[in-house]
Amino acid sequence: MAVTSLAPGIPRSTLGDAWRTFRTAVRLGWAIQSNWSDPFLFAVYTIIKPLAAAMILVVMFWVVTGGRGTAFLQFLIVGSALWNVVLGVVAGMVQSILEDRERYRMMKYVVVTPSSLFAFLLGRSAARVLVALIAVALTLVVGVVFLGVRLQPDLVLFIPATILGLLAVNAIGLFMAGWCLQLRQEAWSYPEAIAGALYLVSGAIFPIDVLPSILHPIAFAMPTTWWLEASRRGLLGHGSPGVLGDLGDGQVLVYLAITTAIAVLLALAAFGWFMRRARRAGLLDMTTGS
């Protein structure tokens, strides 16, 4: 059934309502994310998966270089660690919205209540983001303790880079969530596909110079490229090898701010349009069986 607008007389939600929705959604998201499972197993899962992903890169590095050239190893570890955030946010938002529509069939109820869907969506995906942040911290700790990664934090660079980066990644997640609501089939695969494509063009684990030149404009247009570069500088004290490394810190931050602003504006506009279309077309309670 199409849900097009609030009934007359029902007040719009306030900031307090949105905060209450967010808190409830966070608790719900955590319970679902951990699947009400054994906390020990969930902790193991949270720790081992990202570490294994980083260790694959470490062994690839060692097998080729014999352990020489630790600057590239540091580049790999930081990129691999930070990428967990992109996966967590994008997959978190999309899977939250799809699970609530397809599996738990709660989306239509959330929409017809005066609670804010935006706050609900952010809260529902917060658990995945938290798990992703734990994975980032653990990967960096293992890198520092066992692999000789030398962190030289520059908070003046790192803090704004993190704030802008999280905004950009959330914008991508929001766009994807709205987009996936429109799809009839295979919507579950889209976050993985988009995150995989971004992984490739953002220079997460290799300098973008290695990419075919046709992909360079796309790499430069992505806020994730600039976020990773700014974060590497903020954590390691130096940038990536290659063309990005030649830029100044200020330039990198400016490019990050510009691409993030564009991503946020586009995502908000697109999400609003996607939601209006979903209400009109009755997509909020559609089940695809996928």
Binding site: W36, S37, I48, K49, A52, V59
Partner: protein, 291 residues
């Protein structure tokens, strides 16, 4: 109920007494019936094909570019391409074999499987055959696109042996999937996390993106227990015969390990399934949704 072929009503006991031929025929139909949606799905749902090829290709490409950035020898690029193709089979085993019974339970199909006059091994065999066909298209596409795009050159001197090793690898690999299918069902809600755990950590231990020998003494243990690792190591030795990178063991020894694994995992799957069936009938709980 009518007795087969006679049209007359039989007692419940008589109706349950099937000839061996009928049992075999019925189970073969179950195998084909369960394989059918996976094989036919290839043509009915083109979007599957896109994601099945596109996603592993992205992952393979990322690792190829890492090796390019490290100026690694060209055979490493080939290792990644072959590893990416084999990882497709592993993903199929984890998500479409191991976790499948859990999902079937959620959809309400599992209780139908238990009550249908067929052995559950037939359902698992059907899933394995269908999955093998489906994933072969994905693996071949990854190898073809990867080879063309990244200029991988293969040095295959014993193609028949290579084909034999591939097929032999599939038996313990899908046998392990059959074993996991029962175990995942027993582990209930943890199944999703376990399936997640069986990805990156197994790619690391199985040497999907690098020669397995690179993980040191752990390689011996992995080769003795993980069919993906031992099969991949043997195939890499046969696909890149001229490469300087040695396998963990000679190909003949790895073939023997795969043969032993095939028997162990298939027997293990049969035993686990028997236990599961007993438990399902006795407690009536394993087939309930949301457990």
């Amino acid at each position: 109920m009518t007795a087969a072929g006679t049209g007359t009503t039989a007692s419940a006991r008589q109706a349950a007494e099937w000839s061996t031929e009928r049992v075999i025929r019925s189970n073969l139909r179950a195998v084909m019936g369960r394989a059918y949606p996976r094989v036919i799905g290839l043509t009915r749902e083109p979007s599957w094909l896109f994601f099945e090829i596109f996603l592993p290709f992205l992952a393979v490409s990322a690792f190829v570019f890492v090796y390019r950035a490290l100026e690694a020898p060209e055979e490493y690029i080939g290792f990644v391409v072959i590893g990416g193709a084999m990882a497709a089979f592993w993903l199929n085993v984890v998500w479409m074999m191991a976790a499948q019974f859990y999902w079937e339970k959620d959809q309400g199909n599992l209780e139908l499987y238990f009550t249908a006059p067929m052995h559950l091994m037939s359902v698992l065999a059907g899933m394995a055959i269908g999955g093998l066909v489906m994933t072969s298209s994905r693996a071949l596409a990854v190898i073809a696109i990867g080879s063309i795009l990244y200029g991988v050159s293969f040095d295959i001197q014993q193609p028949w042996l290579l084909a034999g090793v591939f097929l032999l690898t599939m038996i313990p690999l899908y046998g392990l999937g059959m074993l996991f299918a029962s175990l995942f069902l027993l582990w209930g809600r943890e199944a999703f996390h376990l399936a997640q755990l069986l990805q990156e950590p197994i790619y690391f231990l199985g040497g999907v993106n690098f020669p397995i020998g690179a993980i040191g003494p752990l390689a011996g243990l992995v080769v003795a227990t993980l069919p993906l690792a031992v099969g991949l190591d043997a195939m890499r030795q046969l696909v890149f015969a001229g490469s300087d990178v040695a396998g963990v063991l000679p190909v003949a020894a790895e073939i023997a390990i795969l043969a032993v694994m095939a028997v162990v995992f298939l027997v293990g799957a049969r035993l686990a399934l028997g236990y599961l069936e007993t438990l399902a009938r006795r407690e009536g709980r394993l087939t309930l949704r949301w457990q």
